[in-house]
Symmetry: C2
Subunit: 345 residues, 2 copies
């Protein structure tokens, strides 16, 4: 039932995005769009956005709206807001991939790789990918500025999106530069646009009052952290067949995630020495990685992380259960939370 | 008098930006800002924005507002909107400089150059500069979403900014890729965010009705084109001491600007052969460049371009004279138009 709901919401978002791109071709909003159809940059934005992803964020936004007032005028445009969210995501992914020099994304070439191929020049491809990201950012702003809702609602949604934008960029800066607790940063950054922002924007569109929006935003925070902790566990213990990343990726990269930091803190001298020697060793073989994984388990770090995920997810579930919303919407919301925190890929 | 006014408006914009950056340090809008003070990326956005520029766009926005209703609630926040405009500009400049591999900007190092120096790595510097541009974009959105004006006014201003954003990015794509008339493209792109957008946003904040906003936007178009044509003339005939660029830059780069296209179209066979051989010749010496300049003059292209500038500027002036606004504001607006189209640098 709820898996069908997620599939339905994801499909609805996808189809809405298709209609949006189609509409931009037939009813251009700018004189510049006239010859846009030939542009590989714009096509890349469309392709990357439609290539997909799980649309968890869109689902959270859409179903958060369903928790509240059925008559709210914002309910009619949740798909527009979800489309704006997906374009914001496209923008982040394209720029991230340039910075991290990642070659694949969503099961295909990343934007700078695809654009470099189509113009036959790596530098030019990178420049065009910067523009492709900027183009996705502009499109998300275009959608937001035209949401067919009362101006006061539009303003609130616009603020939430502006804050997400800022949080993610600053989080990214810290990721790259600062010596702060990386977990702390990732939580801020991830929670902001994975859970807090989508839930708040959905609630506003669903006609929730300030207090309810605030409660949902607060509940979204632990959910986002749980999402990140699950991501870290998958990066350490995940199965390549499911995650698509080599076993022990985070160990090889020497990422100081929450689970790895906890393991280091709780390890005895011998265990710590082994872990420290393995972390960041890009050439570590399967045996070495397995032994590191075993040590992380033995220190109790994996268990502590699982427990933290449970606690965080429960905090979220409690808030959702307290809301009056339709049972279907509540059930689905809890299911998405479950998927976010218990997924295996 | 009017030069003093421009200096005053530019100073007010600058001081407002200083206050904005200061406020973001002391009253952060995001938890991520806590440790932001140490970030070289954020500092780079601040530095590049405050390093200046002529603030023509801000002046157009501010004085367009002054043409209309003195009691309009939007009048109180024209400086906020001008600050958002300057941050949008910072974002475009930073990303443009990465793509064009330009090393200097506003009399100092471009962002990717400065960031590469501070982290000692060119690749990392470029990645951080992508983020610095994104950060400026996020800040402009933050300011817009918080404009202290009625929601309906905020929405109209937000739409104008979203459109500018889109126009400039698409214009940039075409600049890099398409085989369209480069003049046409540059006009779209330049007019959109140099004149049309700033004038429209200012008019909305000044309480202008839809019709007046529309009239001002229409008038802004030829003004923007005149601005671009002047830019092209400076690129062809400009004096290095004043423009800061080597004599005949556009000739050496082989840019097919309006004036150069016109010259090619009106040249006789011998003149055309000489021009074609010189265009794009990066090593052309002063004599060769001077002869090319003379040919462009002889074909009448320079005169035709000057005439076009006059016509376009007059179209703008006519609309301004028709507005009822305070004489001081009208006089100043005409002066800025004069500066935009008759400048020598």
């Amino acid at each position: 039932m709820t898996d069908e709901t997620l599939a339905r919401v994801a499909r609805a978002t996808h189809e809405h995005l298709e209609r949006f791109f189609e509409k931009m071709r037939t009813e251009p909003i700018s004189a510049m769009f006239d010859s846009r159809a030939q542009s590989v940059v714009y096509d890349q934005v469309e392709e990357m956005t439609l290539r997909g992803g799980k649309r968890f964020r869109a689902a959270l936004l859409i179903e958060a709206a369903a928790l509240f007032d059925e008559e709210a005028p914002g309910r009619a445009c949740v798909l527009d807001a979800a489309a704006a969210l997906e374009l914001l995501q496209t923008y982040f992914l394209i720029h991230d991939d340039i910075m991290d020099e990642d070659e694949t994304r969503r099961g295909g070439p990343s934007a700078h790789v695809a654009l470099a191929r189509s113009c036959g020049d790596a530098n030019m491809g990178r420049g065009l990918a910067i523009l492709a990201g900027d183009c996705a950012a502009a499109l998300h702003q275009i959608i937001l500025s035209r949401l067919e809702v009362p101006d006061s609602v539009q303003r609130r949604v616009g603020r939430i999106f502006a804050d997400m934008h800022m949080d993610v960029i600053l989080g990214q800066v810290h990721d790259l530069l600062e010596n702060t607790d990386p977990m702390e940063i990732a939580c801020h950054k991830t929670a902001s646009y994975t859970t807090v922002g989508p839930l708040s924007a959905g609630a506003v569109l669903g006609g929730a009052g300030d207090e309810a929006v605030e409660a949902l935003a607060r509940a979204g925070r632990p959910l986002g952290i749980a999402f990140q902790l699950r991501d870290d566990l998958l990066g350490t213990f995940g199965d390549e067949a499911q995650t698509g990343k080599p076993v022990g990726t985070d160990i090889r990269l020497g990422k100081h995630t929450f689970v790895i930091r906890t393991a280091l803190a709780q390890a005895d001298a011998k265990q710590r020495a082994y872990l420290e020697a393995t972390l960041g060793d890009a050439g570590a073989g399967p045996e070495r990685l397995e032994r590191a994984q075993r040590i992380i388990e033995q220190t109790g770090a994996r268990g502590a992380c699982e427990q933290r995920i449970d606690e965080m997810a429960s905090q979220f579930a409690e808030v959702i259960r307290r809301e009056r919303g339709a049972p279907g919407a509540k059930e689905f919301m809890l299911h998405v939370a479950h998927l976010l925190t218990e997924r295996d890929r």
